[in-house]
Point group: C2
Chain length 448, copies 2
């Protein structure tokens, strides 16, 4: 007893030495952590209420398949195999319809194929007698596991059939090995396949019928909102860059100028959503063979534009800023370039969101292009006097040049959005409000 | 019969109409596809032979646990529960030690916890009589599935314990539901826990002992090789940019200038490897609590530099290039800036790889910084004559400005690599070859 007390004291001392909160404040510390965790959970639910719905759906699906155990006639026909329906629901039920369907189809087909092959392997192994059987089975299991594991490294297969291969290895091993102890292999395969199908279809049906979450719709929205984020940055950039430090507070506290950062790392998310979306049937305005590749193309171009914006953002907060006089000379053209590209991106984003042919975007792009031309003319005309320090021109010239790159990127994005609009036959709606006239140069409506 | 023939013909016609290769060329088409697939597999193995070894290890682990079925004394004590050992091996065995350990620990702990709670739930449900029992059990299953599914959305938990939560839902549901049919719940929990532990430890032991793949080592190498890729680009950039189009072939065919592109999208990979690495025990020069966060910090800075390089790369292939005279004036300083930053990055990469304190990197960075100063002086001194078209100066000024950004980024990277070197007590090795002298300005050895 004494020994136990002593060791408890040692543990306590050790904890204290490691800066653990003293026992007195410990419960308070735990309370704070728990409160923090709960407020995080509430925030997760508020950010996307579909998460709450999904959790309830998962609970519902699981409760439904557990009827196999509770309801006597069902239990009679499946017995413990009903367990596979429960397992299938837990592992197959995913957030989006596409992901659930993809996993369900993978699991179903892999179980069928592996079950068939395992029966064959069992028959072959049976021929080798009671001593040879485990050896032959062992070789089969080793070979199929090694080959299937290696095939999983193949990127094209990993993207769509990784889960199927995992289930293939699992089912083949389980059935061929069980066959050694249980001669009713065919019945085993039959029961397993049936329960997997029941579990899988429960998931798919609930996923599709109860407040469905479509990965395709999510990809569609993600692409549009990424474009919008860049647009917001560009609309604000001109004013922010040319505003003099003495005009007011620090530039750093502008959250709307930081929204674009999430676009830089969105590739993985886009790829995953496109992979899920490919499994989804026709829904709403999305067909089965919707041009998801075109979305990825637009996403890649948006990211390319975001890289330029990241460079621009660096100049927003650079310590050495050019003198007011130097910047003022190109302020108007640069602000127009940035503003018009931003408007074009927001227009394009809205066009994707509403699936209406972009109308004013081309005009904004033409305006930004004509600003580029104005800038060229300005520069050719000897903008700054001879005494101007070239050193001070460099940062301004860089911002101008990056903005020219952004205008080019925006035009590329517009082109690929127009391709998408043609593919999907976006609606043509005459705008009720006429788009703004460009601030410099002649308005060039309807060009390109 | 006629109907069947007719429908076959319809299918064939349909296939032909869809551009399917005609039946005559079909087998050839399949042959080509199969050959392509096999050459892809061979390439995958050649690119990283550890993949082949991993596949053999997976086969070995699976064959080992299948002994539970073949060996009578083992089968006697576990029976069909041995299946759980097979399932555990298939789903837990991952490429790296960290991923395998993470999944194994998650699975083990989740099974223990869920098993305990499920026994409690079973006891409570037992109190409600034969009719009340399924209702109480159903409520428990629904609640735990919904709550656990929701908690999986929490990003911090998803990163480390997602698999554990999945297994928690699975085990709790299986055991509490099975309890309805089988009163030996405790034995069920005991067998399941033991088989999961056996399967999990088989995976971990094989993963650690047979040609282990350490996620930590992979992260370490990835960070170093990303830095090297940027270095290669920067070393080649100066010559490539200032080379005149008439000098030779197209600039597009320079694969060494495209290597940096993979750095842009490496965040997901780095995050995943760091998550796995956190599970790994001490190995080689890596401790259990290795500063993986510092690697992620270096990775983020490297990516920031890569975004600037992406902008630079755009200027390499721009149609409008400044005239030779304009570019020649800053050619030397720009080439030095680019070359010295590139050398610094390659030095830092080598320092990480060999875990030796970077020696020459500081000198290269000082050289690149002094080139920035030289450029400032050049620009101040009225570099171009008054008749120079400002329009032609802009692209050159942009390249110079982006290179200045790159120099700043490189200095930041060097600083965080030095922090890492201090944390990990990198070896100090006196170089046998003295680093090159800067081409412009005075050598500034040993500064900063």
């Amino acid at each position: 007893m004494d020994l136990e007390c002593a060791s408890q004291e040692t543990v306590k001392q050790g904890l204290l030495a490691r800066g653990w909160p003293p026992i007195k404040g410990f419960s308070k510390h735990v309370k704070t952590k728990v409160l923090e965790f709960f407020s995080l959970l509430i925030k997760l639910g508020q950010d996307d209420p579909r998460r709450v719905v999904h959790s309830l759906k998962a609970g519902l699906a699981l409760t439904l398949v557990s009827l196999f155990y509770y309801y006597q006639p069902l239990y009679k026909s499946f017995g413990v195999s009903a367990m596979w329906a429960v397992i299938t629901v837990v592992v197959v039920f995913e957030f989006s319809v596409g992901a659930t369907l993809g996993k369900g189809v993978n699991r179903g087909l892999a179980t069928l194929l592996a079950g068939g092959l395992a029966v064959g392997a069992h028959q072959l192994a049976n021929l080798s007698g009671r001593i040879g059987e485990p050896i032959v089975l062992g070789i089969f299991v080793f070979l199929q596991a090694a080959v299937s594991t290696f095939v999983r490294f193949c990127p094209q297969i990993k993207a769509r059939y990784d889960y199927g291969l995992l289930i293939f290895i699992l089912t083949f091993s389980l059935i061929s090995i069980s066959g050694f102890r249980d001669d009713e292999v065919l019945e085993l395969v039959h029961k397993r396949l049936l329960t997997v199908l029941i579990g899988g279809s429960t998931c798919v049906i609930i996923s599709v019928l109860v407040f469905p979450v479509w990965a395709g719709q999510d990809l569609h929205n993600l692409i549009a909102s990424n474009m919008e984020k860049l647009g917001i940055f560009l609309e604000g950039f001109g004013d922010e860059y040319f505003k003099m430090p003495e005009d007011g507070e620090s530039k750093e506290d502008r959250p709307f100028l930081q929204g674009y950062k999430s676009v830089l790392d969105s590739k993985t998310n886009e790829d995953a959503l496109a992979n899920f979306a490919r499994w989804e049937p026709r829904h709403g305005r999305f067909q089965f063979r919707h041009p998801w590749k075109q979305y990825l193309k637009i996403g890649a171009l948006t990211r390319k534009c975001a890289y330029r914006i990241e460079s621009l953002n660096g100049h927003l907060y650079a310590d050495i800023q050019a003198k007011r006089e130097i910047r003022r000379k190109i302020q108007e053209t640069c602000t127009t370039m940035s503003m018009e590209s931003g408007k074009a991106l927001k227009e394009l984003s809205m066009a994707i969101k509403t699936m209406v042919k972009p109308f004013a975007a081309d005009i904004h792009i033409e305006n930004s292009k004509s600003s580029v031309k104005n800038l060229d003319t300005l520069l050719k005309s000897g903008l700054w006097d001879d005494e101007t320090d070239l050193l001070e021109v460099v940062p301004v010239a860089t911002v101008a040049s990056l903005l020219i790159d952004v205008v080019t990127c925006t035009a590329e994005i517009a082109e690929s959005v127009n391709e998408l609009a043609t593919m999907l036959k976006f609606e043509v709606v005459e705008p009720t409000v006429s788009p703004e006239k460009p601030e410099t140069g002649q308005p060039k409506i309807g060009i390109s």
